[in-house]
Symmetry: none
Subunit: 201 residues, 2 copies
């Protein structure tokens, strides 16, 4: 992170070229690197606007996964694509399209493309609207009536602050539970480590 001279730590010492770590460090190393890998994947999603699915089996053989937006659709789509040309550059699939049109009686490629285009436009519009609403929620609360705890913290007395603190404690607890519940559902039981009350999210 930032350069701060304080006391002499040792920091990251030497790079084990590669192989295996000792059993003791294996767990923590796996956790760190898996976390880093998922973060990188997330960044790639955001920066390049692509879809990624990652499946990892831990040393203990437990499944972990990352998917944007979701693992399964991406994996399914990948499994449906012709295999031999996974990483190669150009593979004309026009032939496949022609063949598909032959046995797809209820819809043509053209029609599907039309629907797809319209749907995607609609999606974009909805997303844009959602973002605008987000902004309103985030920043626009000052325009309407404010709750008393929205007042500047400097204007509160100790009593109000204590009440606020107690309320926040309760809400925080509920938030953590809810987030864990959602994440548990999302990850399809692929993640065993739950979020806790640290500040990583």
């Amino acid at each position: 992170m930032v350069m701060m001279k304080k006391k002499p730590g040792q920091g990251r010492q030497k790079i084990p070229i590669a192989k295996i770590a000792k059993r003791s460090n294996l767990q923590v190393t796996f956790c760190k690197r898996r976390s880093g890998l998922f973060k990188k994947a997330s960044e790639l999603c955001t920066v390049c606007g692509v879809e990624i699915a990652i499946v990892v089996f831990s040393p203990a053989n437990k499944p972990f996964s990352f998917g944007h937006p979701h693992v399964e659709p991406i994996v399914d789509r990948f499994l449906c694509t012709p295999k031999p040309s996974i990483d190669s550059d150009f593979t004309s699939q026009q032939l496949l399209v022609d063949q598909a049109q032959g046995y797809m009686s209820d819809s043509s490629v053209h029609e599907l493309n039309m629907v797809l285009t319209q749907t995607q436009k609609h999606l974009e519009a909805e997303k844009k609207r959602g973002q605008e609403l987000d902004e309103m929620s985030k920043a626009g609360q000052g325009s309407s009536k404010r709750c008393w705890w929205e007042n500047p913290i400097d204007e509160m007395g100790l009593h109000e602050i204590q009440i606020l603190k107690a309320a926040m404690k309760e809400v925080k607890k509920n938030v953590i539970e809810q987030v864990n519940k959602i994440l548990k559902i999302q990850s399809c039981a692929a993640v065993n480590s739950q979020y806790h009350s640290s500040d990583e999210w």
Copy 2:
């Protein structure tokens, strides 16, 4: 790569936080980051001795994959693990849509149908979210109405919870500062231990 001072280049200049790059750089950035991601995955495999499968669809909607030892067995194994049903869940609402262009010309009906289905699901999710946000905004307008974050925590989505959490984090910081200030004034040095930001509350 080793450090070598030679002639003044510019190297990596500051980090655009995240979003999208311009079309020009998108391709090269995607290539670099995908390469880096796969390398990280490879390292994780070697160092920790685990199995990983990654599937990425490029901005041009081309499939890329990394698998150790192979993608398909890992994915199959993952898909075979029992998992709760996936329904309307909130992931980070982001991008998905820009794959239209490359898809129009070369893809099978089946693939188009899959993309269409995904897109429609996303549309529904976005619409639902928009409605929820509408309700929240509306509820926040009335003077005697409840603020949206006063709603039962069970009715919130992950996105709303994230916003709430960020807000709480800020408030918490202010509360701590204010409490410390008040205690310092009121108690006249009767209290020596200050509140801190650990997880005691």
